[in-house]
């Protein structure tokens, strides 16, 4: 039984929030459209704003298998699509020799059969699944090189790959594709054209509060509000890297571990390393008036 995709944007938003992902209207719209139109979804945004999390939530929401492909420089067909089990093949050749088998044609077709085929994420994503077409997460595409991007282009347009010795594998139902990028380089226009694009921004205070409540329920309500207020204020500062949602969540659990019930300047100063990851930024904030920032949050 394949679970159906959401019927409307509202439905998408509700269903996503049931899985613990608080999406704003724009994101819900683009997710809904991607599902309806069967187009890949390209998500860009700063690190730690929940790009990868969308794919995970979608898989949970639709009850599909999640296939994740982490990109890195030098990613090639052997680790992205398929690889033959060479050791196994060598063994089979050796066995055939010992047995004195002379049927070369049979040996060859045996060697290049699915028994020796190691399926990598892209090939797995094209195979039929009992739960319905899987969610394929191509994570941090900007880390790989242009050559791989070009290859991906081919797969995303036809949803098929050909293995020379084996034949062409074509997806009966195309997978739900989520591509994420941290923008350490620009993704080529040709690939962007094939995708629906969404820039995942930092959430506003209201949504961040909802996210923290959903993901870090152990923190007391008053503390959560303070955390959101402080993180939001921090994002307005001129920092090299402002904290993302992931950092805010980390901070919440760190403060819970420290049994904190409210923020005070010393506590904030001691735990800044959870929020800010650059020495210059930490120095700048420690030099500034944290007490004043905190009192302003109290007012707001």
């Amino acid at each position: 039984m394949i679970r159906a995709v959401p019927a409307s944007i509202d439905d998408t938003q509700t269903q996503l929030s049931q899985t613990g992902y608080v999406a704003d209207r724009a994101l819900a719209t683009v997710v809904y459209l991607a599902l309806k139109m069967g187009r890949p979804l390209l998500l860009e945004g700063e690190a730690g704003v929940g790009k990868t999390e969308i794919a995970k939530s979608l898989a949970t929401m639709l009850g599909r298998k999640l296939i994740r492909m982490q990109c890195y420089e030098g990613l090639d067909v052997a680790s992205a699509v398929y690889e033959w089990n060479y050791a196994g093949q060598m063994m089979a050749i050796r066995l055939a020799e010992v047995e004195g088998s002379t049927d070369r044609a049979r040996l060859e077709s045996d060697l290049f059969s699915s028994r020796f085929l190691i399926k990598r994420p892209l090939l797995q994503a094209l195979e039929p699944d009992t739960q319905g077409p899987p969610v394929l997460l191509i994570d941090e595409l900007d880390r790989t090189d242009e050559a791989f991007e070009a290859f991906l282009l081919e797969i995303l347009s036809d949803y098929q790959v050909s293995v020379p010795e084996f034949g062409t594998v074509k997806a009966e139902h195309p997978p739900i594709v989520i591509v994420t990028s941290n923008r350490t380089r620009e993704i080529h226009d040709a690939l962007k054209r094939r995708c629906l694009y969404h820039w995942v921004d930092y959430p506003d205070a209201e949504r961040e509060l909802a996210i923290l409540k959903a993901k870090a329920p152990q923190a007391p309500e008053a503390l959560t509000r303070q955390i959101v207020g402080f993180v939001q204020a921090l994002r307005k500062q001129d920092l090299f890297k402002v904290p993302g949602v992931a950092e805010a969540l980390d901070w919440a659990s760190a403060l819970v571990e420290l049994d904190a019930v409210a923020l005070d300047p010393k506590l904030v100063s001691d735990t800044l390393g959870v929020l800010l990851k650059y020495q210059d930024d930490i120095q700048k904030m420690q030099g500034s008036d944290i007490a004043k920032m905190l009192s302003e949050i109290g007012k707001g």
Binding site: I93, R104, D145, N182, E186
Partner: protein, 401 residues
């Protein structure tokens, strides 16, 4: 086929070549053959027949149109073409009121010198080939950009277009098949040996591929750099044309990304677009603030995969030296190699006395002049090699005491 027609096509092709299109002698033969076969009766037909043969890139289409208009303008087409015709061009461009189109300048440059005199074709041939003689080139090589005449700058630009560009390569993580060395490639090994029946196992190898590292250019366009910036931009345009990943930023008091504009194939059009994009051309300069913007907004987006940074500025910063130091430090740490190209180095007695320069020098890997074509060629060579002692920035600090 009339000999004169063939001659004219040859001259026309030569003009196109001068204007920057890549045409071999084969294309002239093709054009003559095509005219023979098509036997065009109207000017439009004639135009498109030549267009088909000569234009191999869309970008050249505009150039061709301009050249055609100038070259064949005065003639009522076919009759005069077959009749007497010397390869002379009209003495002034098409329509003085019209804004010159992209490439128009170079077409005029290629055609107009011929218009000055009505000499017979033989001498004209000589003049054409003599336009950039060896000695001409040598003088141009060492001449300071700031002292060049407009005509010399045009020639310098042509030379930049023909310059050999840096061939620096770094090892990539991707594997490619090789004949020797590297590691065993099991996929190809097995496939090859099975093709031969599996009796012999013939080892195939693979090794890391090589790729150009990305280049990021930060180019100062303030008033003090005005004479050098256009030629450096021309150089960057040539570089952008040849390599895949070149990002260019201009800064004076604010930072502008002009990468997209420089991707236009035609250099004049590209530079004009850059000019239109920038608001602070030839104004003041705030190096620290501009670098801050770059570090914050762009460094993470363009400095990945081991980028080489070319910082083109005179380093005359008066503002905030502390922040300049901090921003230079960050830029230095986040790039694979930071090369400072400085036209001030042209002076024999250059000393790193200015405060801004003293602040920036310890934080760069390489310090080079960029005031002439020869210096530019040196820079190209330097990018292809490992850094040398001569351009170690520390020696300049020692000299200044």
């Amino acid at each position: 086929m009339s000999g004169r027609l063939a001659d004219n096509i040859t001259y026309f092709a030569r003009a196109l070549r001068e204007a920057g299109m890549r045409l071999g002698p084969g294309s002239v033969l093709d054009a003559v053959a095509a005219l023979d076969v098509a036997a065009p009766q109207t000017k439009t037909d004639f135009y498109w027949v030549l267009h088909t043969v000569f234009v191999k890139k869309h970008e050249d289409s505009g150039l061709f149109e301009q050249a055609f208009a100038i070259f064949f303008r005065r003639r009522a087409f076919i009759d005069k073409l077959i009749a007497t015709m010397s390869p002379r061009a009209p003495s002034k461009p098409d329509d003085p009121d019209r804004k010159p189109e992209a490439g128009a300048l170079r077409v005029a440059e290629a055609l107009l010198p011929k218009a000055k005199n009505d000499e017979p074709p033989e001498e004209e041939k000589q003049e054409l080939s003599a336009r950039l003689t060896i000695s001409d080139r040598e003088i141009l090589q060492s001449r300071d950009f700031a002292q060049m005449t407009a005509a010399e700058i045009l020639k310098a630009k042509q030379l930049i277009d023909r310059m050999v560009l840096p061939d620096d390569r770094v090892r990539a993580r991707r594997f490619v098949p090789v004949n020797k060395g590297g590691v065993i490639d099991p996929r190809r090994t097995l496939r090859n040996s099975l093709r031969a029946g599996g009796a012999v196992i013939d080892l195939a190898f693979r090794d890391h591929s090589q790729r150009h590292p990305p280049i990021v250019a930060l180019c100062d366009i303030s008033g003090s750099m005005a004479e050098y910036a256009p030629l450096f931009l021309h150089f960057l345009h040539a570089l952008t044309d040849k390599r895949r990943r070149v990002e260019t930023f201009l800064f004076g008091t604010r930072l502008t990304n002009v990468t997209r504009s420089l991707r236009k194939r035609d250099p004049d059009e590209a530079l004009a677009l850059c000019g239109a994009q920038v608001e602070d051309w030839s104004g003041g300069t705030r190096i620290g603030a501009s670098l801050h913007r770059f570090n914050r907004d762009w460094s993470r987006r363009v400095l990945g995969q081991g980028a080489v940074v070319l910082l083109f500025t005179d380093g005359l910063e008066r503002d905030d030296l502390d922040s300049l130091k901090a921003e230079m430090g960050r830029l230095h740490r986040s790039s694979r190699r930071l090369v400072w190209v400085n036209p001030l180095l042209r002076f024999g007695g250059f000393e790193a006395k200015a405060q801004g320069i003293r602040t920036m020098l310890p934080l760069v890997d390489d310090f080079r002049p960029i005031h002439s074509l020869a210096a530019m060629a040196d820079l190209v060579k330097a990018l292809s090699e490992e850094p040398s002692r001569r351009h170690d920035p520390k020696t300049w600090l020692k000299l200044a005491g």
